[in-house]
Structures are given as C-alpha cells and as structure tokens.
Amino acid sequence: MGDSAIMITFGNEIKYDTHKKIKAFMDSLENDPFVGLIECVPAFINLTIFYDPLVVYNLYKKRNKTESMSPYKVVSSIIKKRLQQIDSNQELIHRTVSIPVCYGGEFGPDLEYVARHNNLTTDEVIYIHSNGEYLAYMIGFAPGFPFLGGLSEKIATPRRPSPRTAIPAGSVGIAGAQTGVYPISTPGGWQLIGATPMKLFLPNDNPPSLLQAGDIVTFSPISQDEYNETVLKGEGQ
C-alpha cells in the first residue's frame, strides 16, 4: 500500500476464523511494536500496518551501516518473522457490549418498511434484532462506527434507494445483511429501525470508541421513557 503501509491479507471472505487470525496478529504487534510502527487497522479480511519509513531507515542504517536498503523490505521481513510466531489456535477472548435501543417511532422511521419487506410484524423485527449476537469485525467509515456481522437473514433489507442527507447520531440501522449504529450524524442510506442513547464515539476518552474490533454486540429494547431518562442523566456519555 505505497511507501508507508503494508496490507496483509488473511482470507478472502468474511469468516470468524479469518477475523481471529487478524485480531491475534494485531494484538501481538500492539503488545510488542517494532520500531517505526505507527498503527494497525483491522478490516474484514486484512490488516493494514502503517509505519514511518524514516524511523525504520535510520534504525537499520545505524545497525547495519548500510545506506542502500528499502524500509518496505525491512518491515516485510519483520512481519514475516512475526507471522510465524503467531499461535492462531488460541481462542480469542471477546468482550460483550450491550447497547440499549429504543425501536420504532421517531427513532426508527424505517421499522415498518423493514417489517413489510420481510413479511413480519414490527414486534417480530425487534425480537429478531434484539436476540442476535453480533461480532464487530472492524471499526471504520466514521469514528466509532462498527461493521457488525451476524444479522439474521429474516430481517435483512436493502438500503434506501436514496440516502438521507443527515442521520442523527445514535441511529440503529440495517443495510442488506449488515446492522450498525451511527456514532455521529452523517449522510447515509441505511434503513433506520431505532436509536440508542449510548455514545459510541468518545473523543475525550482513550480509547475514543465504545466498541473495538472483536467485541460481541447485543441490543436490548428500551422504552422511549428509558431512552429520555438515560439522555437526561447523561449516562450515555
């Protein structure tokens, strides 16, 4: 990926096993970073490693007293060596994060459409959505936005034909076989079925994202009163 990043591919489709390998390798790099590593960005099937070519070059030059070398080759060989040391049979430990959702009404203007599209009642849609377990494969698109896998096909619904210009922060939506939560207000074409009072993007915290790649996410239905109460108390902060 150019002169400052390397992308390593671990598979060719969305699979738990691939995710496990990516997460294990990312954890090992973050726990024991090589000199020059800036950050790792996990995705569905690959991990991108951003590095500072100058730091890599200077260190290597000092150690090996040579001017002619490629930072890319140095980083590649470090990565190859590190990949051999990974035990991908080790089970991942997942954190479970429960997200309260007020379904329907003004928060979920598309709940009825999702129900109609799937020949279900709105209560059935809520039941199916809030009884699923979803794996956060990656965070991207917007700060704190989780790409969740595991949506039941029974409630999968295509995106809206034309995107909304602004989706309020906290909206919970469905797009095809994906579900997700909008951490900040952005334009988007997802079918909105509800909203959470919880804040997913926390710019003053470290980490600044409520969810991390590898988290298991569940949704629990709350009433509009409970939603308002949480917002008032600032518990979502």
């Binding site: 150019g2 002169d3 990043a5 996990p42 951003f50 704190g144 710019p203 980490p207």
Partner: protein, 332 residues
C-alpha cells in the same frame, strides 16, 4: 490575545501533522494537506516541525496581529501583505503589534501555511491539534475560523529570533535569507504526480491501466480536504469485484463504479470499499495539495523503491534545512 480574525477566508483551519494512532477506532487522521510546507513554516520560526499552523485555502484570511511575533508563510502564493505592503514567503518575518496580515489573489498553488514562533495555543485532542471538520473536534472549537475568533500564541520557552530588534523600524522586518522552496514544492500548471500500483491495480483492464498512466485527468470542483475527484477516461474493471471495506491511506486512488478516480487526502475516511488503482507517493502528496479544482494532472508510475528513495531524499533535504535555519538563528 494574539491574533484576531477579521475575515476568515474560504477555509482557514488549524492543522498539524495529523491525528495518528486512532484509525482503528474510525478516527480520521486530518492534518496539513501539504505537510512539507507546514514543516518548513515551523522550522523557519524555530518551532518543532509538527507544531500546529494555520492552513489557508485559495482565498486567504485577513488577520489582526495583537502582539509582536515572528511568523513565516509557506505553501501556495495567496499574495500575502502586511499593512498593504507585499510580504515575501519562505522566510522568517518579524511582525509588530497592531499590523494587519491580508491575503489576496491566489497566484500559485492552492494552500498556504502561516506559522508563529511558539505555536498557537490550541488544546490537543487525541494527541493532535488538527481540526477534524466533519467530526467537529480538534483545532479551534472543532471548526474552520470565523470572523472575530481570537487565537493566542504560546509563550516561547526561550526567546530567539533570526532578527535583532533594532532592525525593526517599519511594521515588519524580514530575514535576509529564505528557503529554496522549489525543491520541496515544484509547482506547475499541469503537474505530474508519481504513483505506485494500488492494491487492486490488477483488477483493471489493460487499456484502463494504460490510460491511468498516460492520460490527463481534471480535478473537479467537488474536491476538498477529504479527497480530489478526477474526471478523465473512465477506468474499467476486467469484471465486477465485490470488495470488502478495508483500510485506505493518504493518497490512495479509489475508482468509483462510474469509472472516475478519487484521490483520498487528509480528511479521508479510515476505510473504503472501492478498488484502488494507484497510490500517490508520500513525497508528491504536497504537490496534489497545491492543485486547484479545474487544473489537470497526469500520473506517472514509479517503483516502490523509487517512492522510498524520493521520500528519504526529501527527509534529508528537510534535515539540512533545519540545520541551516538553526545556524541562521545563532548567527543573527
């Protein structure tokens, strides 16, 4: 009080070298579009090279200086003037309290940078002072500057200047040297941008690969800090590929389903789902940042080894510049 905004200009924001280390949380990097101009602006006033500066776009601001200070202006030439008198770029300038810095027509490039010795007093959010406009965080109140905004300067730990006070008789005084900026920023009307092959280069048809390397592309009006949309020959895939979202980087060139490329820049999203035909080399990112909408560019493919040696060469030149500037500070 140190600097008051009288007119904000088209898009003036606080930027440093970006918010690194939070991309896995979906937090975009931001930072200066032209990082070399930012770094040189800082070196010229004795700052560390990653200090935050003002990034100004096409139509610069009008600013009232309310405290004596040492500044430098680099990047594109937006016709800077102090109290009506044109002021040279790429050198330290001592400005007296009460002066007005005003930018005029854009003569070359697209973005200019204004540094001040000590830096602007801006709090860090996630280790960076850069403004993330869409996320409304960082920089000055998370937004572009507006009229009547007031930004303070940091106190300098040790007062140093390449100019002695007695030289200052008028509203401003100049150092008697400047940076040969052309080796960092060789601006031209139709620049050639060097690229390496993108992650999905092989997904494209032979004719599209050739066109990408040979044909001119026009930078559309829908181009901003997030990315530059280009129009030119439609770039086609050999067959439809379902690409899963994955990380992108500064300078990644994605191709949307209509065949038009987009160069992803400072305010890009952290991940994307379109195939990437090419990747702008780091050393040429500042050249892109200085291209105006409507201008045409061409791409030239280079090897990764070339990209790396061009990068290292620029870093060596910056290091030399840093030594030369600190010598000038000592021998004032």
């Amino acid at each position: 009080m140190s600097l008051r905004v009288i007119k904000p200009g088209l898009l003036t924001s606080i930027q440093d070298l970006g918010r690194k280390g939070f991309q896995k949380h979906g937090v975009i990097v931001s930072g200066a579009m032209d990082a070399y101009s930012l770094r040189i602006a800082n070196l010229l006033v004795g700052n560390t090279d990653h200090e935050a500066v003002l990034e100004m776009t096409l139509m610069g601001p009008k600013l009232k200086i309310e405290k004596d200070c040492l500044i430098a202006i680099t990047g594109g030439n937006l016709s800077p003037a102090i109290d009506g008198e044109p002021v040279p770029m790429w050198k330290p300038v001592f400005v007296k309290k009460g002066c007005t810095i005003k930018f005029g027509p854009c003569k070359s490039g697209c973005r200019a940078y204004l540094s001040v010795a000590g830096g602007y007093a801006i709090p860090e959010v996630m280790n960076s002072k850069s403004t993330y406009l869409r996320g409304e965080l960082g920089g000055y109140k998370g937004r572009a500057l507006q009229a009547d905004d007031v930004i303070s300067f940091n106190e300098q730990s040790h007062h140093q200047s390449p100019l002695s006070k007695k030289e200052v008789t008028e509203s401003f005084a100049l150092a008697n040297w400047s940076v040969n900026y052309k080796k960092f920023l060789p601006l031209s009307e139709s620049p050639i941008i060097r690229v390496t092959k993108g992650s999905q280069f092989e997904y494209f048809t032979e004719s599209s690969k050739n066109e990408c390397a040979k044909m001119p592309f026009t930078v559309s009006n829908q181009s901003d800090r997030m990315g530059y949309r280009l129009s030119g020959p439609a770039l086609k895939l050999t067959h439809k590929h379902e690409l899963l979202s994955e990380a992108v980087s500064n300078g990644s060139i994605q191709v949307t389903p209509d065949g038009n490329p987009i160069i992803l820049l400072a305010d890009r999203q952290t991940t994307g789902g379109y195939p990437k035909i090419a990747q702008v080399i780091t050393a040429d990112l500042p050249l892109i940042a200085q291209v105006k909408p409507g201008q045409s560019i061409r791409f030239s493919f280079v090897t990764l080894e070339d990209a790396e040696s061009l990068y290292l060469q620029k870093e060596r030149q910056l290091k030399e510049l840093k030594s030369a500037v600190s010598l000038a500070f000592k021998n004032k």
